[in-house]
Subunit: 192 residues, 2 copies
């Protein structure tokens, strides 16, 4: 998606350790006008899939997912990263190892909100090593719901997540795939 790639080139910052900082428009400050364009693009790509629910994961996936959901006219469910006393009763649970935080945590969805009747589109802001996405696909599988695919804003194509998830049979649509990036020059190259 050209608009997104231009924005990443303009405002993205490449840091040591495979970090692409896009916190000025995607995952700390959020440019909702840009999100609207992302929403239209995801709708176009998944328009014939008859989804009835979007699944994402807290925190930075939620904003994009809610804007996208308007174009599909479906609710969003977000997987929580910590058990809270406000989620009583049965949950689906999966373990995720965070690239950003360097630790393992549980993600949780209440069984009330995911089940065999659901056709689910996953929306997330980043795909890197694939841990979060694989965790979400496991929750969906455990629930008996159908997974239509995953819509990702930025995929780090030089990490293995996209390959692993696609080879597992999941349709992944990433709006920008970073092929390589250089923390010394700041150069970002996208996959065609």
């Amino acid at each position: 998606m050209q608009l997104l790639k231009e924005r990443i080139q303009k405002d993205g910052k490449v840091k040591e350790g495979n970090v692409l900082k896009v916190d000025s428009f995607l995952n700390h400050q959020m440019d909702v006008k840009l999100f609207v364009e992302l929403g239209k693009e995801f709708k176009e790509r998944f328009k014939d899939c008859n989804i009835n629910k979007i699944l994402t994961i807290e925190a930075s996936g939620i904003g994009v997912a809610c804007i996208v959901a308007q174009y599909f006219e479906v609710p969003v469910v977000f997987a929580k990263k910590n058990q809270t006393k406000n989620i009583a009763g049965d949950t689906y649970t999966s373990k995720v190892e965070s690239f950003t935080h360097g630790k393992v945590y549980d993600i949780i969805v209440s069984k009330q909100f995911l089940g065999p009747e659901d056709k689910v589109l996953i929306i997330d802001d980043f795909l890197a090593n694939g841990a979060a996405l694989l965790g979400l696909t496991k929750l969906i599988k455990d629930s008996g719901a159908s997974l239509v695919g995953a819509g990702i804003v930025i995929e780090k194509g030089f990490q293995e997540g996209g390959k692993i998830v696609r080879e597992s049979g999941v349709r992944v649509e990433s709006l920008a795939i970073v092929e390589s990036m250089d923390p010394k020059t700041g150069e970002i190259v996208f996959r065609d």
Copy 2:
């Protein structure tokens, strides 16, 4: 806001310990069509305030804040609850004691995204003891930004947060204020 009150009556569940579960439409599964109506209402209430930024806090404030932001045509910044290596550099920090989780944590906003040039509207899903809201107002004060007010979806009027924050001089607009609720009967009474 009548539509919201009806939804809380219909789908909210009162639990022991002053817990109002609205996770079927507000803070786990999110009814984006409802959020659109909340967005229009907040826009009506704060239409003359010339805000240029919405501030919220992860995780459950983000969805509402992003939908609301479309009506103001401004970006959203969300305060993060944990330091991550992706927030490098200077941050504004405030301590918050969580009612839900029963622990104290830091909330953080990068100094890049909040400053004296900003006129800020806070949006959050809940106001109970006021800890999160007071934390956010401190971040805004520390940044030199102007706080226009706070738009809250559900206020627990029987807890002290709303009173404390209003007495501190902050304009608080809550779309539904719960005056009392009874875990035995499930009854929910709203303030007029």
